[in-house]
Structure formats: C-alpha cells, structure tokens
Amino acid sequence: MELYELTAHELRDKLANKEVTSKEITESFAKRIQEKEPDVKAFVNTTLDTAIQKAEEVDRKIASGEKLSSLAGIPIGIKDNICTKGVKTTCSSRMLENFVSPYDATVMEKINDEDLVMLGKLNMDEFAMGASTEYSYFKKTSNPWDLNKVPGGSSGGSAAAVAANMVPWALGSDTGGSVRQPASFCGVVGLKPTYGLVSRYGLVAFASSLDQIGPITKDVEDNAILLNMIAGHDEKDSTSANVEKKDYTKALVNDVKGLRIGLPKEYFGEGINPEVKEAVMKVAKKYEEMGATVEECSISVTDYALATYYILACAEASSNLGRFDGIRYGYRTENFNNLKDIYRNSRSEGFGPEVKRRIILGTYVLSSGYYDAYYKKALKVRTVVKQAFKELFKKYDVLLTPTSPTTAFDIGTRSNNPLEMYLADICTVSINIGGVPAISVPCGLDSQGMPIGFQLIGNHFDEETLYKAAYTYEQNTNFKENKPTFKK
C-alpha cells in the first residue's frame, strides 16, 4: 500500500511510531500529484518544493526531540479562497491571478501552528460561485471516478484531490453546499460546520452570512480531527461564536441506538434522481437496523430555500466583491482613460460570467424599489427557516437527506444553463440559511459507477451527533472498498 492511500490519522500513527518520516509522506503525495494532476487538474498552484522543505524541517524537529503536534508533518491541500501568506490566493479568478495575500487566514495560522505541510492551493468555481468547478478561470477539474464528469463545486478541487489521493485531506468552503456537494460527487466526507464555529477571517468572502470553512476528508475520523484543528472563537471575526472548545474525536462512537432521525419528505420529492433516493432510503434502513428510529417529517419552508439563498448570497456578494476594483490589488485593465473605465473594464475583464451574473442579481435585489420585495422578504424567510429547523430538532437529533439530487454530471452539460446549475444546490442551501451544521457521507455508487452521498443535518453546534451518526454508518458499511477509476 502506498503512503498516499492512507488517511491522515493512519499517517499520524505511522509518524508517531517512526515507521515513516514526514519527508517520505510528502514525497509520496508529491509523486501522486505529478502523476494524477494532468488528468484531475485539481490544483491552481502546487507548493511542492516548500512542502518538502517544511517536511524536512518537521523531521529535524522530531529527531531533535522537540514536542510537536501529533499532526505535524501531515500534508494538506487548501481551497484557493483561503488566504495563505506568501502564496498566491486566486479564488480561481483572473481578478486575483497574481494576488499574494500579506497575511494568513486564521485557519491557516492554526494549521501552521500544528506544522502541517501545505501541498498547494486547490481549484474552485470562481469566487466559490458554482456547483461544478467549471467556472474556474484557470482549468476545469475532473471527477476522479470519471474524468468526463465534474467533481461538483465550488470546492471541486479539494474534493477531487482527496478522492484521487493527491492530498490526505483538504479544506473547502461552503456557502450553499460547496463542501458537501463535491464531497458527495467525489465519494468523500465533507462537513459544513455550524455558522460561527470556524473563523472566516482570511476566507475571501462570497456571502458573509452563509460562508463557512469545512473539512473534506477520506473518512469521518479525519473529518473530526481536522475540525478540532480549525474550530474555535476568533477575535478577528465578530460572527465567530464564543463557544466552548470541544474534542470531536470523542464523538466517534459506533452506536446510534435511540438516535432519532427525521426524513424531511421535501428532500425526496420531485427532481431527486431515483437512484439517489433509493440509496438514501437504504441508508435510513441501515440506521434503523443499527437501532435508530427513523420517521418522515416535513420542512415545507425549504421550498423557498433556493430562491431565498440566491437573493441573500448574491446581495452580499455584490457588496463583498466591490473591493475588486483594479485600484489597490488584483487585475487592472490596460484599457482606460478615466476612473470609470478602470472600474468598468477591470471588472468586465477580470470577472467571469457567473460572478458577473450574481453581482448583477445582487445589485438588483438591493436596489431601491426592489429591496423590500426581494432582500427584505428573503431575510424574513431566513427567520422562518431557522425557526423550522429549531422546531424539528426538538423532535429529532439529526435529519437525513440526499446531499445532491443527482450524482456528478458530465462536464459542459450545465455550465451554460445557470438555473439548472443552481438546482444542484437544492438539498444543501437551506442548511446554510438556517446556520446549522451538515455532513455529507458516501453511501454507494449509481449505475454509472458514480458516488452517491447522503446528508445528515444537525442542530446548532451539535457536530458531535453528526459525527457519531456518520461514524457509525461508516463503521458498519463498506463504501471504502470502492476506488476511483480515473475513467477517461
């Protein structure tokens, strides 16, 4: 077995037993990246030279008996909208093609404090807007299970790299499903934490009230370990919650007896692919067998979730992306005679079509005369969604749904049809609107051999129950025996 096939916790144990060095691990992944990157195209930039230097440094420290984090020397991949000091952070946009952040995101500080080894920055839909990673300015990432299919998005590079064993784990960001949906398309585990659990400082904002950074991993245990690393209150983020720090690995218990699972019927209706539906119903059955209770329930307000999501997210994005004006950093047009030209042409040339579409949409819903009908109404729906979740979690510990209505689709089939692309988020957006946590766990393959994921939704700051349920499922099933085929 190659080192790159192992999970992060397996690598950690080998390092602890001095079976391998960080350099050997890092080189194994570097080789794998060189081998698979031409097919998968997961990275915007790799940092393999500095990664090997960093690994050597960790090995020296270990040899000299220095006390390090148990995860020191483990490689990681980072979505390219998380600021990394000294390394380009492009958001897969022409606008930031050559942008180097002068500071590290809070999550990067935490990762660096534990001496992890960054292998590079991972591809995404431009500014995290998309569900297929086709909207990257640089390249289209392929799904390792079938290179003609999309990996999902927007954290498609992160999910594909983990699935292809190019990184042991990665960070993504999730505004409406951008961690969970690609995790589901690529057959890996992805968590969208409770809003406020992980600091957003240094995550290039798409929609501030919805964005959360989340771990994408090969298994549930790694996911809990990575969440342990990145969670926690941050003074630099006013929206980060001041809650007690937890050890999520303690929730990794193989037991769901008495767990109350709700199956919201709205997530199993029209538009959900029958194979996906069947697979998720099988998961429900499995949980029942393992001792949980499963009951159908309803959260009808989620019918409005997609519309609400696109109003709120685009409104915030239209304002958040204003700073990309060609004045201080990022792309500046060469074609200008006055200030207005700089703004107009830099933004016209620097942003891709989906980003422009959302800026225009967002500007529209905030405009005077339309604000009340769209933005204000959407805020009201958000309150109702939150309330609906609150009510449901009085009765259930978790909710079980598909992560995505379909499995991965063919590259090029939706990128020119924005509305169809938006439907890929239908199962995930209401979770961001509600601010609650959710995890996507692989549960099988469809008839074309593409992974299917199920989603567990939890109560505010109750990631532990999600992990417990996901871990128990994983321990009692064998999805891991399926391997990506890199089908051409």
Binding site: R200, S208, S238, R323
Partner: protein
C-alpha cells in the same frame, strides 16, 4: 420681491472624527498625519478575506455625544453597508448606520439675537471615514492614502431648524464646544476632524412648505460655512426671482471665488443599496450602560460657568465667553493653577487673546502656547518683573513662537527696571529736560505729570516700573 421677503432654511449634517486611539474596525492608530499608508493594515486596506471588528470605544463616545445633546439612546442598533465606488473607499462600501442609528431625537440650545433657540437633532450615527486622494500637481495621477480610512466618525444630523447664517455658526460652535467638553473629538477643523454638509433652501416668508434644497459638502471652517450659506441663499433667491427653479443638487463651495459649483450630475444619482453588514453583530445597549456613561460625563460648560462665577468671582459675561470654548476654558483653569490669579488670566483671555485670535482668524485650539506659559506670564507681571504693557508685547511674541515668557523677556531685554537708583536717574534726567512741564505742573496742571511719566517710559523703552516712576516724580516735584 426683495431678498428680505425670503426666509432661509438650513439643516446640517456634521461629521466629527472621534478621538479614540484606534480605528473603528481595526487596531491601527487614528493619529492625524504620518507618511501615506503607514497607519493601515490588511483590514482597513480591505485586503480580500479581512473582517471588521467594532471598536467598543466608538459606541461609548457616540452614546456620550447622544447624551450630551439630549438624544434618546437606542437599545438595539446595527451597522449597515453603504455601497459606492470611489478610490478612497477601499471596500467599495462604507460601514455606516442606516435605519437604526445609536442616538435619535435630541436637541441643543443656541443663543440668537432674539434670545435662546432650540435646534433639534434628528439622529447621531457612527461610521468610518474614507481615505484621502492626493492629486498629483503635475497631472501624473492621483495617489490613494488610506491612513484616514477607518477613522471613526459620528454624523450628527439636525432638523432644518436654522434660519440664518448666524444661527448656523452658533449651532456649529455649540456642537463643537459640547464634543470638546465631553472629550470625544478634538474638533480640529483645520485637520478635517469637524466638518459639515450644509443643506440650504429658501422660501417666501410665511410659506409653510420647504423650498428645494441644495447640499454643500465637506465644509470645514466657520468662515466658509457662513459665507457659503449667505451666497447660496442669495443665489437661490435670485434664481427664483428671475423665474428659475432650484434644482436638488450637491454643490461644492469654492472658498477662493466665493461661489458654489455643482459636484455631480443627475446621471450619477447614487443608489447606495444600504443593507445590514453581515460581518458585524447587532449592537445591544443596556440601560445600565447608558446610566453609567451619564454618571461619568465630564463637566459641561454650564456647570463650569457657574463654578467660575462662584469660585473665581468672574463676571457672568466673562464666564460665559470663556466656557464657550473648552480650549479657552482649559487655558483659563490651567493658567490659573500656575499663577493663582483668575481675574488677571480672565482679563488676558477676554481682551488680548480674543483680539489676537480675531486678528489672526484662528480658533482657540490653534493657540500655540501652553496654559502654563500663560500662567507664568501673569506671575512675571504680578512679581513686577515686567509691566503689563511689556506683558502685551510678550503675549504677541508668544503667539509667534511658543516660548517661555521669561525667555522672550530675556531675549528682548524687556526686564522691568525696578531699581530705585536707575529709576531716579531717569526721573532726574526727564525733569531736567522738561523744565516747561515741571513749571506747568507746579502751576496746577496735573496733566503734566502724565507727560513726564510718558517721557520716562519712552526713555526706558517701557521697561521702567510705572508705579515707582509715578511715586518718584511726585516726590521730586514736591521738592
């Protein structure tokens, strides 16, 4: 109709930079000046991924201002984004407050020629200042300096309650004085830390409906505000009289030509697309918080005035004038601490200092010397080291270069002659050279004494101790 048949209606939006140590959403210093772009960080430069964190002092200062202007303090407030593009606004939105300001429905009282008048305050909200554009004089471009970006501001919006340029000035001065007294802003107009957008409209006297208003942006001296109000009101009246109509526009006042010019055209009518800033949490203010600030508010002018009358026995008029400005009031108190002669300090402030401020057209906060130096000047006069008339010359010098009075006196050789021998020598010489005046005096013309003293002063370049001169002349003339 004549101009006199019209009434001018004025409302003000006053922006005041708060004197917190750090900026409103990051920990950069708020200090004025500094090399361009040295007082900034990733947050106030709006680097991608950065987030604002509200400086709690800003809320405290704004609440102070609200209390001091009799406002109601909101229990629930929030920050909103005001979106527009300009190179001095790095995020392309200003974090401000839209529909839930911290303070609302206040008022202040001003003095007018018809007695006291209440000016209502609509609201006070907090927001961040923008950076500055420095336009290259050779036309090579404009340079962005973000040192000021993120400096906290309060915007104090008045109702359109003012009816003359005098009322506008009185209101501005009142606000300035209040903000200085509660120590939330240094209100240095020349540094832009107090500036106003002035809304002017006119209507025929007796008319109930307001006329169409124009807004003059960023006025930062009392003189220009007063001139601009007068000019703009007359312009509007003349326009209406000529059959025209006032257009609602934003104007720029040009101090050199003394005229207003349109700043933006209609095409640029802005829709700021205000919405709650999702990066910041709601502001909650408890009754205890407000109560606590209320109880710890610094002494306000009214109370100081009363104290000056009772404790220092100042005439009411003097006490009122001195306390109208915190700088003058502090100057008075601190100089008095040094010399223990409140009456004399008050006289200096009321006469010579006020005169020189007027001559120089500067504000009290621009006085270069310290209160201690003024106190020392009074001590030197009280000790007889110099005469009051030399004191006036020393004070004039102190306005030029803020040196210790003793140094100025020494440098100019202005020490008063109080040596009996030296005085006697001068007196004898003057008597000898002015036999006619001596004769006049002895013939009963008392005025001749004054002439003789004057001659002696002239001979000593004003340095002779006038009391001793007088005494000695009288003695000699009796002989």
């Amino acid at each position: 109709m004549a101009r006199e048949d019209y009434e001018v209606v004025i409302g003000l939006e006053v922006h005041s930079e708060l004197s917190t140590k750090t900026k409103i959403f990051c920990s950069c210093p708020t200090e004025f000046g500094g090399e361009p772009n040295t007082h900034c960080c990733p947050v106030c430069m709006a680097m991608p991924g950065t987030l604002p964190v509200l400086n709690e002092k800003v809320v405290e200062y704004a609440v102070k201002a609200g209390i001091a202007t009799n406002c109601e303090i909101a229990k629930n407030s929030k920050n909103d984004r005001k979106n527009y593009f300009y190179p001095d606004l790095p995020k392309a939105y200003q974090i401000s407050q839209f529909d839930m300001p911290l303070c609302e429905r206040g008022h202040v009282e001003i003095e007018t020629e018809n007695g006291p008048k209440t000016i209502r305050i609509t609201r006070i909200h907090i927001e961040e200042d923008a950076g500055k554009l420095n336009h290259d004089e050779y036309g090579r471009g404009s340079f962005v300096d973000l040192n000021r970006a993120g400096v906290p501001l309060i915007e104090i919006v008045s109702e359109p309650d003012m009816r003359s340029k005098e009322e506008v000035e009185a209101y501005m001065r009142k606000l300035k004085s209040i903000l200085e007294y509660i120590e939330v802003s240094d209100c240095k107009m020349q540094e832009g830390s107090l500036r106003a957008d002035v809304n002017v409209s006119v209507r025929k006297k007796g008319e109930i409906k307001f006329g169409t208003r124009t807004e003059m942006k960023n006025m930062n001296s009392f003189r220009s505000i007063v001139r601009a109000v007068e000019y703009e009101a007359n312009r509007q009246i003349d326009l209406i009289e000529a059959g025209g109509e006032v257009e609602q526009t934003t104007l720029r006042w040009d101090d050199i030509s003394g005229k207003t010019f349109p700043m933006r055209d209609k095409e640029d009518a802005q829709d700021y697309r205000y919405f709650p800033d999702p990066d910041l949490v709601a502001i909650k203010i408890s009754d205890e918080y407000v109560e606590n600030i209320k109880n710890n508010l610094p002494e306000l002018p009214e109370s100081r005035k009363k104290r000056y009358i009772e404790e220092f026995k100042l005439p009411e008029y003097d006490a009122k004038l001195i306390t109208a400005s915190k700088y003058l009031s502090d100057l008075f108190e601190n100089a008095t601490k040094v010399c223990n002669n409140p009456k004399s300090v008050s006289n200096w402030i009321m006469s010579d200092i006020t005169r020189i401020l007027n001559e120089k057209e500067i504000e009290p906060d621009e006085i270069p010397f310290t209160a201690e130096q003024l106190g020392n000047l009074v001590v030197l006069i009280d000790k007889g080291t110099i005469s009051t008339s030399i004191g006036k010359k020393v004070l004039t010098e102190m306005f030029e270069n803020a040196e210790e009075p003793s140094k100025i006196i020494e440098k100019n050789g202005w020490v008063q002659i109080s040596d009996e021998g030296a005085i006697k020598e001068v007196v004898m010489k003057v008597l000898e050279e002015n036999a006619q005046s001596v004769a006049d005096y002895k013939a009963g013309k008392d005025k001749a004494l004054g002439y003789l003293v004057g001659q002696a002063m002239k001979a000593t370049k004003g340095k002779a101790n006038p009391g001793m001169l007088n005494k000695m002349f009288l003695e000699e003339l009796k002989k």
